[in-house]
Structures are given as C-alpha cells and as structure tokens.
Amino acid sequence: MPLSAYLIMSAILFSIGVVGVLIRRSPLVIFMSIELMLNAVNLSFVAFSKFLDTADGQMFVFLVLTVAAAEVVVGLAIIVSIFRTRRTIDVDEMNALRG
C-alpha cells in the first residue's frame, strides 16, 4: 500500500479525535479522543518510519505512548478528584475561570 493511504487514515483518525474533543461534554470521552489523536500521530510516525527505512519514528512512538500513559494517569486522577468535590464531571459545568 502506498504511504498516502496510511497518512489519509491518520488524518481521518486525527480529525475524529479533534471533533470528539470539541463536541463531547464527558471528560472520559474527551480523553479517549485525545488518545485517538495521539495514536493517529503514532500511525503516521510508524508509516514514515517504514517508508524512510529508519527507526527514528518508532522510537518517537514509544515516547508518545509513555507520555500518553502518564497523561492519562494524571488526568484520571484529576477527574476523580473533581467528581469527589462537585459530584459531576460535565466539563461545561467547570467554568470557574469565566471572565
């Protein structure tokens, strides 16, 4: 398969992720959308890695996976703590920073 197929697939996944972040109100779904965006990027890294015949892209994928895992841990912890104090996790309810 040509490189463009992987890249198109990656772009579609990334766009789905973006739309998910923008329109969903549940933080869990937003998290999943972010993961989707990260993995779309991972897909293009891997595709380029294969296409250019270097290992650099794959190394980056490991880095991204690690960061994503850490991010999820911190994010979930925040969500749990928000739920404990406010009894809701709707992101639109969390607008204390409104000017």
Partner: protein
Amino acid sequence: MLNLSLWVLLFPLLGFLILGLVGRMMSRAVILTVAWGACGLAFLFATMSFFSMLGTTPASARTVDQVVYTWVNSGSLHITFGQLFDPLSATMLMVVTGVGLLIHIYSAGYMEHDPGFWRFFSFLNFFIFAMVLLVTADNFLFLLVGWALVGLASFLLIGFWYQRQAAVAAAQKALVINVIGDFGLLLAIFLIFNSFGSLNYHDVFGMLGSATAGSATITAICLLLFVACAAKSAQLPLYMWLPDAMEGPTPVSALIHAATMVTAGVYLVARTSPLFEQAPIALNTVAAIGGATALFAATIALFQFDIKRVLAYSTISQLGYMFMSEGVHNYSGGIFHLTTHAYFKALLFLGAGAVIHALSDEQDIRQMGGLRSRLPITFWTFLIAALAISGIPPFAGFWSKDEILSSLLVQATNTGNLWFYILWGTGLLTAALTAFYMFRLLLGIFMGDYRGSEYIHEAPPVMTVPLIVLAVLSVVGGFVGSFGLIGLARWQPLANFLAPLFATVHAPEVSLGWEWTSTALSIGLAVLGILSAWVLYRKGFAYKENRNPLYQLVLHKYYVDEALSLFIVQPVLALGRAATRWLEGGVLDGGSRNLALLLHGTSALLRRLQTGYVRNYALAILLGAVLIIVYYAVRG
C-alpha cells in the same frame, strides 16, 4: 600663634550629636554636663586662641587660614574646607561662645520642667556649632553652609514647643524669610565665582583693585549679599520673622538676638568690607536701610504690651545702628556695637525670662508692676541693661552707640551730604526713643503696684548668676572700645585689634569737635527719653484705651503683617487652592482616573473571551495551530 578654632567648632558638634542620639536616655545632670561641657570647652578654646592672638605681633601674623581638607577639585572649581582665624572671627567666636555659654547655663533653670530638656540642649549646641562654622569659614561656600544651618537651628528652636500652633507658624515664617536671604547669598556666590573664579575670601579680595571699583558686578554682588544680611539680621523689609520668633523659649530669644543668628548679617558685611568698599551704592543702601530700620522698629517698640516683643523690636532697631555704622565705613564700630549689644540684649532677654518665669509664663506688661522688691536681682540687672541700651555713660551701650553716632556726623560733615545729616538725626531720634521705650518697659514691670494674680518667686541661682555676669559685662564691656572721644588712638583696643581687616577702608577724617557735639546730643536725648518715661510711668504702667489713629497704627505695627497676609499670603493660598482643585484634582487625579476607566472598559470587552468552557479553549488552540500550518504552507 595658637589656633584652636577647629576645636571650637568640633565640641558643640559633638555635644549636639551625643545629645541628639542618646540624650533621651540621659538624666538631667548628664545632659547638662554634656551641653555645658561642649559649649564651655568651645569657649575655653576660643579664649585661649584669642589671648594667644593678642600676644602675637606684628598684627599681620594674626591671620591664619588653616585648610582642613579639599572638598572639591574639579576643573577651575577648588573648594576647600578651611578655617580662617583672624581678629574678626576671634572677636565673633568670643561673643558667640561666651554669651552662648551663659545662655546654656541659664537655660538649665528656665527649661527645668520641660519634657524636651535633652532636645533643647542638643539644639542649643547645634546652634552654637552652626554659628561657629559661619564665622570661621574661609570661603563663601562654607559661609553659606553655616548660614543655612543657623537658619535651620533657629527654625528648630523657635518651633521648639511644636504643640503650639503659633510657635510652628513663627518657625515657618522665620525659615521662609531666611531662605529668601539664603537665595540672595547663593546668587551672590554664583556672581562671585563667575567674576573671580574663586570662592576663597583671600583670593577674591586679592583680585579687587581700581579696575573693579564701582563696577556693576561688584554692586550687584554687594546688594545680593545685603539681601542675605537683611533677612538674617532682620532689616527692612525682611524683619517680620524676628518679632514672631518670640514664640520660642526665652533663652532661645536671647541666643538669637544676642550671640548668634542676627549678628551674622553684621558679620558678613564686615567680612566682605573690601567688596562693599568698592560699591558705594551698595554701601549707601546699607546705611539707608539701617537707618530706616532703626527708626521704624523703635517706633513700633514704643507701645507694645508683650515685654519680649518690645525687646524684639529693640533688637531690630539696634541692628539698624550696626548697619548704619558699617554704611559709613565704620565697620569696627558695627562689630563693637554687636559685642556690647550681645551683652545687654542677652541680659535684657534673660531678665525678661526671669520675670516671665517668676510670673508663671505671663508676658503682658499690663499684668505686671511692682516687682522691684520681689525680684531684686532681676531688677538691678535689668536696670543696668536698660541704662546700657539707652546709651548712658559709662555703660557699655554708650560707648558703642556714641561711636556710631559720631562716625555718622563725621561722615556728614566730611561729605557735606544732606542725607548723612538726616541719617545722623535718625540715629539721635532713635536713641531718644530707645531710652523712652526701655524705661517704659522697666518702670512698667518693676514700679507701681502688682497688677497680676500669679504667685511670684525669684529665679534660682542657676538663672541669676548669668544675669549678674552679663550685668558686669554690660557695665565694663564698653571699655574695650571707644576712647576716641579724647583723641587717644591707642585707647581704642577693639578698633586697633580689628584694623588690619579694614585696611582698604576709606575711613573719614575724625574731628574731635564734631564727636563731642554728637556725644553731648545723644546723652541729652537719652536722658530726655528716660525722663519722659519717668514722668509718664513712674507710678506704674496704666493702660488706657486710645483711639488716636496714629497710636493705633503704631500699636498694630503699621499693619505690616496684615498687609503681607492680604497681598502675599492670601493670593498664594488662593493659588494653592486653585492648583489643588484644577491641577491636582482635574489634570493629575483626573488623568489617572480616566486611564483607569479606559483600561476597565477595554478589559470588560476582552473578558468575554474567557468563557470558562474547556472546549472553546480547545477550539482556539486548534484554530491557532491550523493558522500556523496554513501560514507555513502558503509561505512554502
């Protein structure tokens, strides 16, 4: 020759620093030890230097200019801190520290119950220090430093009772008028440096010659110097601060009127006599202002009720005499009257202080009377001082006043100028008025029946001893001066002592006949003044309401304060209020308020962007990222 003038300067400074820093924690005995010690040591060193100078011959070796350190050395500007010790500064040091010491001693009794005891003595020491700096400086810049510090010291002491509104107002008035004088001195110094390129007395006077005589620059310098002198020595039209300075404690009045402060102007004219000799116009101005002030102040003193105020106007009048003398080239006569005046005026003020102390702060002559038997020491010393200031021989004031009047007449007959005859007549008239108001005061306080209700007690010895010392000086103090009457030049020790300083002076030829005429007239007029006071007030002072407009005019001091208030103070206040409203309220406050309002409005608009919704921020980030990508994509 022994020159200890630096030590004379250092001790009062040391006393001021010690008392100012730790005086609060000291007991009264320790405070007195430090204050008296500082002033006493200064007096001791001044005396030692003075006698060492007397023993030095020839007279030319009596001038020592001791450079302590170089302060500024930049381009053509060389300024050193130097101490000039010569007959003039030696005489001034003796007066300043000697009379100052007596006032220090007296103050211990007068201020005994004051909570600001330590503060008072630290200020007194500071005053002595400033005055010593003024008279020993060897250049115009340090003269200015001393000049301004003296003004500051007077401000601190006049406003010593700072809880009293009147005292604070008087202190401010004194400072403002003094600053006018400082400004004149500053301008004179600029002109001197501009024309001579140096500020040292010796260099400046050395550059004078026939080329500079009568030039407009020299005249301007002298007139500006005289502005400073008029402000410091309370001459017309800058005399207003001195009567108000009575708000300070009485020993301060004595210090300001006798030993320090007001003598500075007389000293400065004598010190810069080489300049004044080259500016006849300025010198005539000095004489004219001196004469006008002498008469003007004497008339005001005629009808005042506050005993200190009478003395204040009498000081202004006597200072007028000193300037008259200097105005007719008789500088040593001015300095002579300065020293004798220091004795009897300090005595008068300290005596008045003893009376006020005895009557528990009563100053109104209408509430006194009959104190002769209850305050005997005060009475006798006051009588001596009154005789001295009235010019009755052989008391000190006679010799110096007679010397001044004689030199006025001699100048008049030598030049044949009508104005000098008028000046001489003014001097004579003032002498008669002086005798009258002094004896009105004396008889009003001590004769007749006691009109007040306070309990009376004679002053403690710490106050009477300085009175007695000053009384002795008021009797014998004149003998250092003038035996010119009998034509014996060697019997004029003070004039001969000061002579080297006034070598460039064109002294008029002395005629013994005219001198005797003047003397006879002045004694006659003084006796006349005393007799009229005796006739009017021998039974004690009786106050009668008097509607005579002339009397009212003099009683209200010619309405000078009222006129000043109307024409200067009120307009300035109105300007200040307008500035507060329009400049500060409108422009400055309004400007910053409008700036704040503008920022507030802008932020109210911008705040809408902060919705608080996470998804809006995410959208903004996305759009930003897309824009950056598009930018780089388009740019290629």
